[in-house]
């Protein structure tokens, strides 16, 4: 008796709602994540998507010839395979998605919508969900909107040219904060949990099996699901081609962006973070990204701390270690 395929493999064989021909950069994490979401939502339910304003919108919803969404080669015969996608304004995606979800529910309650409740997805960058968009994110969560909110975190306002964002790691160079600053990033996972999300996950596309499971769990959860996707940004972070998935994995292993998932009312799980003794140091993650070149540099293929920057690296290491500890506590939040 053949074992069922793992989630990500069975998703890979579904009809994708996200298509080729978009203008995202080569190796963009957002595109990889869009494909997984596009495939996971081929599950017999109508799919509704609300996009904020971010790279993922301007590069996939550009009239007339870069609309890179749609399941199948042409308009499907059944409404369950169809896709309705909208871009409103920067920070509004969670609220727009909530409205789409509520509308479907009200129509179902009176018998006007007979199918299963649609997949309703909101996707924003970290600007549109955690900076200017923090109000809309937290309140949709608080109202238990039945929506899956996906937040791509690339630590910068990328669409406007890679400026500092509240999710930026300390000492990361950006155009509005050269060489970065000491401030630690906002605790997005903590905020989502405390606001009452039904499901919170942080998942990198670099760990495809975990990522796909989180997407599947998010679509099925009660209340609001939030998936934070650490999104290595090849053009903003300036790294070589072919490292997107690897950096995603290193981000988890170092403790900077651990893989995490938690259902409300149940203990959460941290994954793909080795125990402290075996954990790679943060410099493994920082090396090879030009935005950290003033802090860590590659010498003979090995990361070397730039003289005078030892305390910066120590601060980043401390942040990573405390981040894991904090997530261990958050995993136990009721």
């Amino acid at each position: 008796m053949a074992r069922a395929l793992p989630t990500f493999k069975s998703h890979a064989q579904r009809d994708d709602a996200f298509l080729e021909g978009h203008t995202l950069c080569p190796g963009c994490t957002e595109a990889v994540a869009f494909h997984e979401i596009g495939r996971a939502t081929d599950n017999g339910r109508k799919t509704l998507v609300a996009l904020g304003t971010f790279c993922g919108e301007v590069s996939t919803l550009l009239y007339p010839n870069v609309i890179s969404w749609g399941r199948g080669k042409r308009e499907p015969a059944e409404v369950e395979k169809s896709v309705g996608i909208i871009h409103n304004v920067f920070e509004s995606a969670p609220t727009v998605a909530e409205a789409m979800s509520d509308t479907a529910r009200v129509l179902a309650d009176v018998g006007a919508w007979k199918g299963p409740q649609p997949n309703v997805i909101s996707v924003s960058g970290d600007g549109g969900a955690l900076s200017i968009g923090l109000r809309s994110l937290l309140h949709s969560i608080h109202r238990r909107a039945r929506v899956t909110v996906v937040v791509y975190i690339n630590e910068v306002f990328a669409n406007t040219g890679f400026q500092y964002s509240p999710t930026s790691l300390p000492f990361a160079d950006s155009s509005t904060l050269p060489h970065g600053g000491a401030a630690e990033p906002i605790d997005h996972i903590g905020l989502a949990i405390v606001a009452g999300a039904g499901y919170v996950a942080q998942a990198t596309t670099g760990y495809a099996p975990f990522f796909a499971e989180c997407v599947e769990e998010a679509l099925a959860a009660e209340g609001t699901s939030v998936i934070f996707v650490p999104a290595p940004c090849i053009t903003g972070w300036k790294f070589e081609e072919g490292l997107t998935a690897e950096l995603g994995r290193l981000g988890s292993q170092t403790g900077l962006f651990p893989c995490f998932r938690k259902k409300r009312g149940e203990p959460g799980q941290i994954k793909h973070v080795p125990e402290k003794a075996k954990r790679p140091g943060v410099e493994q993650f920082l090396v090879g990204q030009q935005r950290f070149e003033h802090v860590v540099r590659a010498v003979d293929g090995k990361p070397q701390i730039v003289p005078g920057r030892e305390s910066d690296v120590a601060a980043l290491q401390s942040y990573a270690d405390r981040n894991v500890e904090r997530l261990e506590k958050l995993a136990l939040f009721p």
Partner: protein, 323 residues
Amino acid sequence: MTSRAQALKERLARGDSIDLRGYGKAGGGLMLAVQAFAAALAKVPELDVQDWPLFSSARKGATVCAYLRVARGKVEQSSAVSEPDVAVLMNEAAAEDADFAEGTKDALYVVNTWHSPEMAAGRYRLGGTVVTIAGDDLGRKYLNRPLANVAVLAALVRTTGLVEPVAARASLESRLVKRRLPRRIVDANLAMFDTSLEQMRVGQFPPAGHPRKPFTGYGRLPAGAQSALRTSVHNRTSGYGRPGVKVEFADPLSKCNGCSLCVVQCPEGIIQFDADPARGTLVHGARFADFCKVCRECVTACPLDLFKELVASTRPEGHPVEA
């Protein structure tokens, strides 16, 4: 002074502007080249200069344009550069979907290519002064990557005669420093500039027309830009890839075991496979020619090394730059 440089000088003396338009790929250095040229021109006391990029949301790999307008006294004109006097092609991939010579008849063309001026003139149907420089090669030599902007800048400086090479070099240096690049990289760029000044080739050709495409109206646009889906599938994005490389899939022994990692890591979603409900996606290729941006995620992901990055050049391996 060449006859072309003389002709440009006379244009300025008459009170006309010199318009420049460049085509390239995002990340290919076109902006820096045009900005550095503009900054050098701005230091010439009797000249005024404006430079600007085509404003677009696409970033790495997309086709981009840069514009420059220089005149004696003051540049008043604000409309688009649609009939350039100088047309630049920074990356040949940018010319696949657009005519970089549109609106010209007898202009100064500066092309980053290993081809000779004769080959370039024939290939792109150019009439006027054609300047070619093997900028990708120079970039590989000095910067370890096929980045041709400094070479093209040198060619512009030399063939327009509008600024002294020394002034252009200083302007380039200050631009690079302003971008917070490490000093060794700045120095490498300057060395490349110096060499490039002597490395271009020039040819003269009879005028050839590239008439401007006229505006024929907006048509009836849908309220709220509401649109059907799937329009991107005709948008060939293979031009986004770094020049000179491509990815290929080869599995002559049918080793692919359906692990599906390439399928899920490909940002373009172009891996081709047969679906096996027991094993996974059995891959047999990918739509490289039309959509691959050479991001290498498949190369990194495949545990069996079935994807490889290869040199892709119209120039045969080891062939010298054309005489």
